[in-house]
Amino acid sequence: MKQLASTSWRPILVLLLLFIAWETSVRLFHIETWLLPSPIAVIKEAVISWETFSVHLFATMRLSILGLIIGVLFGLCVAIILHRMPFLRKAFYPLLILSQNIPIIVLAPLLVIWLGFGVLPKIIVIILVCFFPITIACLDGFRQTSSELKHYMIMSGSNKRQLFWKLEWPHALPSIFSGLKISATYSVMGAVISEWLGSKEGIGVYMTLSSSSFRTDRVFVAIFAIMILSLLFFLLIQLLEKLCIKGNRKKEST
């Protein structure tokens, strides 16, 4: 805890200064609330409308966690399959990159047309956003396995499965976690975008309703909520990483 406080005071200070500058300039120039609300007004609004907003917040949380889990599992499966079958990797790797070039904003309404307003099209959007960082990080991690250790394993008579689970998988874990951090923060954005498509609840819905009725303060509440949620996900993954990664791995990177 002490360590956390000693490392995070700098960004917190910068954030605080930013808020102060924002607050004073809104007051100084008499900016209308529907144009740009002051941070204090946003926080006030968050407290007042917490009861209605929390419903949307938890809906988005559920959706993004579900999407993240499925997306990560999908990403890991794709990476493992492509790693184990090099001919598939050569065929599909470029397609993986292409999949990231599809504009989600365009694809999302199409998914609704094809699959309706249920959870499925939303999950697909999140998967599409989440799986890529995982798959790429995972594949790179597998490929960078120390050839020295690999050679040792093969000389000692290990089979392909043992080589994977005892060497390649643990060796790739740090890079998998780097991918996970990116995916986790993306998943919240993915969930919000998918909610724009049409949904009864969620931060995305709250956001569109607020902006169309010029409740800019509520839009900012939604923005802050998304940021805090992403940060929470990130921290959670970081905690998981600390628990999972044993030994000092610094030497490997040299």
Binding site: E148, L149, H151, Y152, M153, I154, M155, S156, G157, S158, Q162, K166, L167, P170, H171, L173, I245, K246, G247, N248, R249, K250, K251, E252
Partner: protein, 248 residues
């Protein structure tokens, strides 16, 4: 009856012939060194015995069973310690046992304790010194319980004093557990100090230019390194290898 037999082994990589008609027999419990200049194909020989390469010609027998191209019949210790950084010392030592589906942590603990690593059982490799890492690596290969131990220049990266310590340690362990050891080195002194027999390899394409029976009795200690007979043998081998180079 011999323990390990290599008959007429040849191997080339493309145009480059590395081993040429190599024949070798090793008896059970022997400590045999393979001495040769760098790049003479010593490691290739190990890869062939270990089964990860196939010879172009020739066969390899262990206990009269052909093992050409078959993996998992030898204990192997590479030049670099090759410890897994995410495993503790004890987990590293037990690795090969895991591969073979046996789990016997107590034996691992006993052997590590005897090797003076009792305080480091739960340490990670980056907390160990170079000599300690090699000890763990050696114990790991001993724990695989394959009767043939192949050591590929295991002390090459250590400094002079640590190396001598490790050589003495290796001899003491070897007398205790009595495995057959095939030891690759380019260090003449090391080969003489440790082995029963030495095969001297030529430059590429490698074959055996001389087989030397080391006459010194065991147990050996470091005074042997300065014994006139020892120095004479060292000199002979040195000139043998040097003439080889000039002939090429």
């Amino acid at each position: 009856m011999s323990f390990l037999t290599l008959t007429n082994i040849s191997k080339s990589f493309g145009e480059n012939q590395v081993l040429q008609n190599m024949n070798m027999t090793i008896q059970e419990g022997e400590f045999v060194s393979i001495l040769g200049p760098s790049g003479s194909g010593k490691s290739t020989l190990f890869h062939l015995i270990g089964g990860i390469l196939l010879p172009d010609d020739g066969d390899i027998y262990l206990n009269n069973q052909p093992i050409t191209g078959k993996k998992g019949f030898i204990s192997y210790m590479p030049q670099a310690p090759s410890l897994f950084p995410w495993r503790t010392v004890i987990e590293n030592a037990a690795l090969v046992q895991e591969l073979k589906g046996q789990k016997n942590k107590q034996t691992a603990i006993d052997m590590l304790t005897k090797a003076g690593l009792a305080h480091f059982l739960h340490a990670y490799p980056d907390e160990l010194s170079g000599g300690m890492k090699q000890r763990v690596s050696f114990i790991r290969s001993l724990l695989s319980f394959e009767p043939l131990l192949c050591l590929d220049e295991p002390f090459g990266a250590l400094d002079e004093f640590t190396r001598l310590e490790m050589q003495k340690w290796l001899l003491s362990i070897w007398t205790e557990y009595r495995r057959t050891i095939l030891f690759i080195t380019h260090n003449i002194e090391e080969a003489l100090f440790l082995s029963d027999r030495i095969f001297v390899l030529s430059k590429r394409p490698a074959n055996i230019i001389k087989e030397i029976k080391v006459p010194f009795t065991r147990p050996r200690d470091q005074d042997l390194l300065f014994h006139p007979d020892f120095l004479q043998l060292k000199k002979d081998i040195y000139y043998l290898l040097q003439n080889q180079k000039e002939n090429v």
